[in-house]
Amino acid sequence: MRSGRSPWILVLPALTGLALLVLPLTGLVVRAPWSTMGERLGDPAVLTALGLSLSTATAATACSLLLGVPLAWLLARTEFPGRRLVRALVTVPLVMPPVVGGVALLLVLGRNGILGRHLDAWFGVTVPFTPAAVVLAQVFVAMPFLVISVEGALRGADRRYEEAAATLGASRAAVFTRVTLPMVLPGVGAGAALCWARALGEFGATITFAGNFPGTTQTMPLAVYVAMRHDPEAAVVLSLILLLVCLAVLAALRERWTNT
């Protein structure tokens, strides 16, 4: 990179953009009753919600990796009719208000849902109001982030390595695990981080599909929302705790994966 003065035409919008992203956070930090922070962190109810948030978001990211990476590969590396439509469908959860996503999940997997009805009748399984429902809601809203970033990485990767491996006799599956995946690993990592962060902050689909019960389905965002109704200060503190934990985890992972 050539050193020297950065062009103002890039720096100015960059700084404005940064301000737009950071200012609301500043508001939160300035207004936070910091003295009560330790007390809240020791509150078992807060720790329960935080633990549930971290475990469900991690489970949702694992599910998304398992399902989303192959889906991204399908979109980037194969030709099939209707591929454009499938790609558009993958982005639907990004556009749909999460609450609507939650209702949609209820209509399919709820006790009276299209599939849920049979799950209930055949296996006695009801999904709503369980931690599994929290994970499902999170996968629904967060997986598209992973799919899109992995697909982008796959499209950007040099296909000649894959072709070379194939001519040397590697099977398609071997090419994927030995050549393709290591090549796009940074993209997968970035996608997984985005997916995890989005799952951690998930609110609308969760409260609609999974409900809100402490210890079972009440994640941090739900605890924040309920606290907002009667104790806004507590809500600010809870949001900051969630934010700090999220930043700490992402920063640690970034350090690990990219060494930057």
Partner: protein
């Protein structure tokens, strides 16, 4: 005669000052009514009749949660009338000098109660769990949705279940009463505690069961003319309409009880 004189003055003014000067003179009188969200249908209906009865007036309705409205009013939002869904919120506005003193002297400092709302057990139309009363909600195999205790309907639900001496462990604490209703409508829960007005609004998608302990948690709706009212007379006329026979009929049709 006076009207035409005013109009010619206006034309003169327009020539002298520009067309904007006329706009102020022709503006219709606005009545700003701040009301709890549960009053949306009733007040929207009443506003039409009010505008017909008071030509030249336009009723601007602002519906939101009572608490949010109280904050707006005490922060100086232009409001003439406030109808709250609970007496505590109105008391808070009154405590900050928000109620018109002249009106308060006649009708009470904390507003006049014009309607009540009571809890009902909402069940899906086929009542799959065979719920008949509050005690059934404590059964282990009955899935129940309640409002979170932090919101008014949750506090009311708590009062009622305490009065009945039953301990209900719901599958979910919903963020507001409409969310409870949705869960019942979709058949995701066997029962939920909602207000009579919610049952009325849901039509035949849910059944509402009355239960005796509901009387311990009756929600009173107070209304008051506000200190910041631009035209206290007009604001009082709105309050009178709400408390009139026509107002009561409209409220009763929406599921509200008489004060």
């Amino acid at each position: 005669m006076r009207e035409s004189a005013r109009r010619s003055l206006c034309v003169l003014a327009a020539v002298a000052l520009g067309a904007t000067a006329c706009a102020a003179g022709e503006e219709r009188e606005r009545l700003h009514v701040f009301a709890a969200a549960s009053l949306t249908d009733v007040f929207t209906g009443l506003a039409e009749g009010f505008e017909d009865a008071h030509p030249g007036t336009e009723v601007t309705l602002n519906f939101a949660g009572s608490g949010d409205l109280a904050v707006q009013i005490t922060s100086g939002a232009p409001a003439d009338v406030f109808a709250a869904a609970d007496t505590a919120t109105m008391a808070r506005v009154a405590g900050e000098g928000g109620v018109d003193p002249a009106w308060a002297a006649e009708h009470g400092e904390r507003g006049a109660v014009f309607a009540t709302n009571t809890l009902r057990i909402a069940v899906p139309p086929n009542n799959p769990a065979g719920v008949g009363g509050l005690a059934d909600l404590a059964e282990e195999d009955v899935a129940v949705a309640l409002c979170a205790e932090e919101v008014p309907c949750g506090a009311a639900s708590r009062t009622a279940t305490d009065a009945a001496g039953v301990e209900v462990t719901p599958v979910t604490y919903e963020e507001d009463v409409r969310a409870v209703l949705t869960k019942v409508e979709l058949g995701e829960v066997d029962a939920g505690l909602v207000y009579a007005t919610d049952v009325a609004a849901a039509g035949d998608r849910v059944r509402g069961l009355e239960f005796p302990e509901a009387d311990t948690a009756v929600n009173a709706y107070p209304i008051a003319v506000l200190a910041g009212a631009a035209d206290p007379g007009l604001a009082a006329a709105w309050v009178d309409l709400v408390r009139s026979e026509a107002g009561r009929d409209a409220l009763a049709a929406a599921g509200f009880g008489a004060p």
